[in-house]
Symmetry: none
Subunit: 192 residues, 4 copies
Amino acid sequence: MTPAVAVHDKAEAILGAALELFVERGFHGTSVPSVAERAKVAAGTIYHYFSSKEALVNALYKRWKEALVAEITSSVDSSKAPREQFRSVWMRMAAFAIKYPKELAFLELHHHASYLDAECLGIERQVFDLGVLIVTEAQTIQALRNVPAGILLEFAQGAFVGIFRAAIEGRLPLTLETFQQAEQCAWEAVRG
Amino acid sequence: MTPAVAVHDKAEAILGAALELFVERGFHGTSVPSVAERAKVAAGTIYHYFSSKEALVNALYKRWKEALVAEITSSVDSSKAPREQFRSVWMRMAAFAIKYPKELAFLELHHHASYLDAECLGIERQVFDLGVLIVTEAQTIQALRNVPAGILLEFAQGAFVGIFRAAIEGRLPLTLETFQQAEQCAWEAVRG
Amino acid sequence: MTPAVAVHDKAEAILGAALELFVERGFHGTSVPSVAERAKVAAGTIYHYFSSKEALVNALYKRWKEALVAEITSSVDSSKAPREQFRSVWMRMAAFAIKYPKELAFLELHHHASYLDAECLGIERQVFDLGVLIVTEAQTIQALRNVPAGILLEFAQGAFVGIFRAAIEGRLPLTLETFQQAEQCAWEAVRG
Amino acid sequence: MTPAVAVHDKAEAILGAALELFVERGFHGTSVPSVAERAKVAAGTIYHYFSSKEALVNALYKRWKEALVAEITSSVDSSKAPREQFRSVWMRMAAFAIKYPKELAFLELHHHASYLDAECLGIERQVFDLGVLIVTEAQTIQALRNVPAGILLEFAQGAFVGIFRAAIEGRLPLTLETFQQAEQCAWEAVRG
DNA sequence: CATGAATGAGTTTTCATTCAT
DNA sequence: TATGAATGAAAACTCATTCAT
């Protein structure tokens, strides 16, 4: 579940500091010196590991997006009943959200940003297309509501993100229970 | 529905230009000179109408948040049945989203940003509290599912935003029909 | 003889300061703040008038190269005898060197530098081609020695530059007399 | 003719790489890491052989200036006639220019630069003074034109450099013939 | 000897803001 | 009111140099 091993202490410190600051202040609101300060390295050191500030966000984005995607795809098991599959995916995402709240917040925040490179945007697209495929299949056996697959997908993802955001902003407890309750709502929303 | 009348052409041009740029590039990614250029005014002129760049976002945020809140609250009619009330609120928001997509995107993007002042954040809280009140009432008559009011609220709002984002990013058509289909899902999610 | 009128005081101050520093320390050895300091303007002001440090050298180069070229071309008078024409061109360049020593030193120093744009390099080529033409014509009437035109041209120009450099470096007096004496040598070198 | 034997491969590689880069981009335009990269050594290695970037240019300058001076002085033979002596010096310099074009270009480019130390500048002066002595002597027997010795010296050197530069910039062929033709011009310029 | 990660001062450049006109 | 030239602090990034390995 944990992504890429920490080969370089400094690089890891930089990635960690950057993650926090990008979540707190956004990409343009975060200066490279501020990242250096929080990572306790010199400003120049950042450029040993990342060719630019953009390369830094992209590295961060790719790392955690891949971790999230791995989490989701590994939780898909087509041998199970649709109800179980849905719960499984939702709750794995919930577990990820609870374990890596800053990281997920970062991914949410930088969704489709102009400074993400083609590769990062490609991962997004890929996941979306896979989602559409699975939903469409489930619709043929009437396991899911008969509306455009994109709507079901975006609806459920939006709902999840809504719950998650409320949790990290302190309006809901960031617990499995919160996500479980939301999951029941979500299933009713999408079921056939 | 349209907010505050345009007293000053220049001020309006500035607000319009700023809105677009803040959506395109974010607050920190937008420079005051670039706002001036798009608004076709001199950079100094912006400071006749707004004391700072922060004052500008806040003015923009307050204007459109209030417009959105007015839209939502005016669509609440407790004499109607819960199902009708829900549909009414959801579809009014949809109409707003279709009429003012950039403006709604702006509100979404700047949600809880550190440069928003207390007044702006206050509006948020206020709306949330009102929502909790209404939901809780509806729950007492078993019109809505018996889970914490906050969860229902954040779930529905998150789902709406998910659909809206997908629409402005081109993955779904930005039409009333899209929102109607999502509304049916949403009602099933929250109904008692 | 004086190039472009001084419309903007600050722009002129910047150009003047940059000229001096580029001569003293070279392009890469001169920092933008140091130019600002000598010009008595803020560092940012330089970027109101010149889009980059490169644009600044290019503006400077073009201005003075054109002034020099104008000086030389205006001194060509094909109705005069070859001996007189040669003396005329040489002494006009000498007058330019004495009047604008820093400026000529700047042009010499930045000859063919990698940061000069195509337009600047174009002027060089143009002048060279014109020179070859004139020399070749003079050779047909046996007024000039019968060696490749380029050799005569580069020889005479090199000799002139040698004298000029020695003068600004203090090894020769920077006077008309110095150039007159050199002119006699030069004519003997190239005459037919 | 070849200067200082290569004791250390690495040091030689560094000197060679530095020479090329200083010619291509100038002293301030060349970074130590770029020298290291072209020399295929680590950046730190450069500091084992040269105490600083300045020490590196100075070592390079001294090495090649001395080689050039040795070449010239060894070609002076006061027993020969002035015409022969002149040709001999000129053509030896030409041979040097053809054999070591980059090295000569380097010497030309860094002439009198502020980062050269006293020793380097001393060599310059010494050669100049020797030249003045020889020229003055030749003038007493009316072998050379009766103008200030410095003028003859700077004129001839300037002409040589002009031809050389044109050659390395591709406007003239870098061949003995080019220099022979220029030598005839030069002799006519300076002869008594 | 040789390396290259690490540093931090210095580079070019941008930008929020001011102010004389 | 409106302008836009001017400012200077701060941004992203580079680089000469050091030092632990």
